[in-house]
Amino acid sequence: MIPETLLGQPFVLGHTFNGLYFAALLFFASVGLTLVFGILNLLNMAHAAFYGLGAYIAVWTLNNIGDITTTMVALLLVLVIVIPLAVFVLAAALDKTVFAPLYEIEPVYQLLATFGVILMLDDIIKYLWGATPISVDAATNPSRQLGTIDLLGSSVSVYRSFVILIAVCCAVGLYLMFVKTKIGKISQAMSEDYEMVQMLGINVTRVRVLIFSLSIAIAALGGALFVPFAVATPAVTLEYVLLSFAVIVIGGLGSLKGVVVASLIIGMVRSFGIAYVPAIELAIVFALMVVVIIAKPEGLFGDEGVVE
């Protein structure tokens, strides 16, 4: 017999909110992975490592920004605009150097080479910030400063609602980019036939660098938004590498809609799983991944284009 409080509305509402928040983070961590694979045919195992990098950069920035400003708007702008922009530039440089030769090789070798990139990034992070967990100081922590509000009888974190909102904006923004803008349409064409687009005289390398850097920047954005409500540890990277693969496999490789739906599924599974079956909560995620690959290898939406 389940106690009535467990079935009560506030409790379920709380888990749904947690699930949405977790889904938002998963979306940030994995959307770029699926786009880079779908459009550029690169399976970048190291993708979610940039989520971890974003988290560390955010902790460092917020802990050093106190002397300049503690205004909430400024702090949020740093997380949402400044850090992703910085990582965007970094990613563009990496695409031209480290990742450039990987576009030419088979997916299996891409997996292995980018596994090497994970190992390198892991140590770069440890070198810069140490191996012990670090967190954002209370004075410049937007999550603590914003507090909670009361919604239908349960207290809801304002900051985490903000993160969910940014994820929704990001998903809508990407969708509009693909259907409305020229660059988006070129990217869609590239996912269909890369060489044909190249032959039409379009500078595919420029589009490639843009898509790759944008994808990495979104992952870093996710990490930056994640960290005020958590701590940055080297394990975060490895955890999200695995989870982001679960997301894109369940959603279907290369599908924007797939990432949104799969993030929601895994977010909810984990949120309710932690509450009701904590011992096997992670196992459910991988079991789901196994079932999808066996029963429907193309994933929920993988046989469709990037945005259909």
């Binding site: 399976l43 480290v98 030769p101 990987l102 090789i105 088979e106 997916p107 299996v108 070798y109 997996l111 292995l112 080479a113 596994f115 090497g116 990139v117 994970i118 190992l119 390198m120 990034l121 892991d122 140590d123 770069i124 440890k126 070198y127 490895l238 695995l242 693969f245 679960a246 496999v249 011992a279 096997i280 992670l282 196992a283 991988f286 079991a287 991944m289 196994v290 690959i293 066996i294 290898p297």
Partner: protein, 342 residues
């Protein structure tokens, strides 16, 4: 559909008995067998034992990648199964004879291999990699969360020393146990694995696996039961990797779920690739290269992950399926050719 990873020459059985190679093998075996007694260096002996355990695992892994053409990112499942079987059989069941424990570990790993083999049989390329990854990760979670109460979670379990045909070797002093006994057990296991796989992979069975790697559709059309052979290859691979894990468990004496984690799978892949997945001895060389490189990097810097990552990245982009062993072979051939011309 198969990934065109490595390329092998078609080596006939006559060539396998080529005297020079056999002789070289015997010399290497004898030198290795005498090494601990000659040097009495416990550190080196321990390092060599460690390398040989992983050499067995990497060779087993390469049956699936190098010969059948499928990249598994879940072989930690078999390595870890071998390890946990040793602990549980000795601790819970009470069988403590080394040989019996090893045989049981291989059988159990083979069973896990059969299950994973059947579940993954229809997937290819990255889907195969991701499915094996997910399945292995399920086992890892079972071990971490201690579901079933067998593994004691992240604390891990200690391994006691085994017996050997009723001889109480577990009472030997630690140095003599390692230098005089356990090192040689692992050496014989490695030699047996090499000889066995040499013949198995040159038999019609091994050639069929290569055919599946080169062109699965064609293999299917010529009447090869492809799916069944893929499961066989997974079982054989799992048994060998499980043996490596079981031997390693007895060596280190303590087991944690980390050996089931996907980063462990990554290390096994790394070793095989470093040595050369397109060569027979590559994985052995790779295991040695990996562990020596790790020890070397660790003695200079705590940031050995970076070094290893860089090496992996460079190997993938330059040597590809040849690895260092294949690269060295090509180099020697070229030098010979040049000498011939002069």
């Amino acid at each position: 559909m198969s990934t065109r990873l490595p390329t092998f020459g078609n080596v006939g059985l006559a060539e396998t008995l080529q005297n020079r190679r056999l002789l070289a093998g015997i010399v290497v075996f004898v030198v290795l067998a005498l090494y601990p007694a000659m040097t009495l260096n416990a550190y080196h002996t321990r390092l060599l034992t460690w390398i040989m355990c992983f050499a067995i695992a990497a060779m087993g892994f390469n049956i699936v990648l190098g010969y059948t053409g499928l990249l598994s990112f879940g072989h930690a499942a078999f390595f870890g199964t071998g390890m946990y079987t040793v602990v549980l059989v000795m601790g819970r069941v009470g069988i403590t004879d080394l040989v019996a424990v090893m045989v049981i570990a291989m059988v159990v790993s083979g069973l896990v291999g059969a299950i994973i083999g059947v579940l993954t049989v229809k997937t290819h390329e990255i889907y195969f990699a991701l499915l094996t990854l997910a399945l292995a990760q399920l086992l890892y979670i079972l071990a971490v969360r201690d579901i079933g109460g067998l593994t004691r979670g992240t604390d891990g379990i200690g391994v006691t020393r085994p017996d050997f045909f009723g001889i109480p070797i577990s009472e030997l002093p630690a140095q003599i146990y390692l230098l005089g006994f356990y090192y040689h057990v692992v050496l014989v296991a490695l030699a047996a694995t090499i000889v066995l796989l040499w013949f198995v992979l040159r038999s019609p069975f091994g050639l069929t696996l290569k055919m599946i790697r080169e062109n699965e559709t064609r293999a299917e059309m010529t009447g090869v039961p492809v799916l069944r052979y893929r499961v066989y290859s997974m079982i054989l691979s799992a048994m060998v990797v499980g043996l490596g894990g079981a031997l390693y468990a007895v060596l280190i004496g303590h087991i944690t779920p980390e050996y089931l984690d996907w980063t462990m799978s990554g290390e096994i892949v790394f070793m095989a690739l470093l040595g050369g997945i397109g060569t027979f001895f590559g994985p052995v060389v790779g295991a040695g290269g990996f562990i020596l490189l790790q020890e070397l990097a660790l003695s200079y810097t705590e940031y050995w992950h970076f070094t290893m990552g860089l090496v992996l990245f460079i190997v993938v982009l330059t040597l590809r399926e040849n690895g260092i062993w294949g690269g060295a072979k090509t180099l020697v051939e070229r030098l010979n050719d040049r000498r011939g011309e002069q």
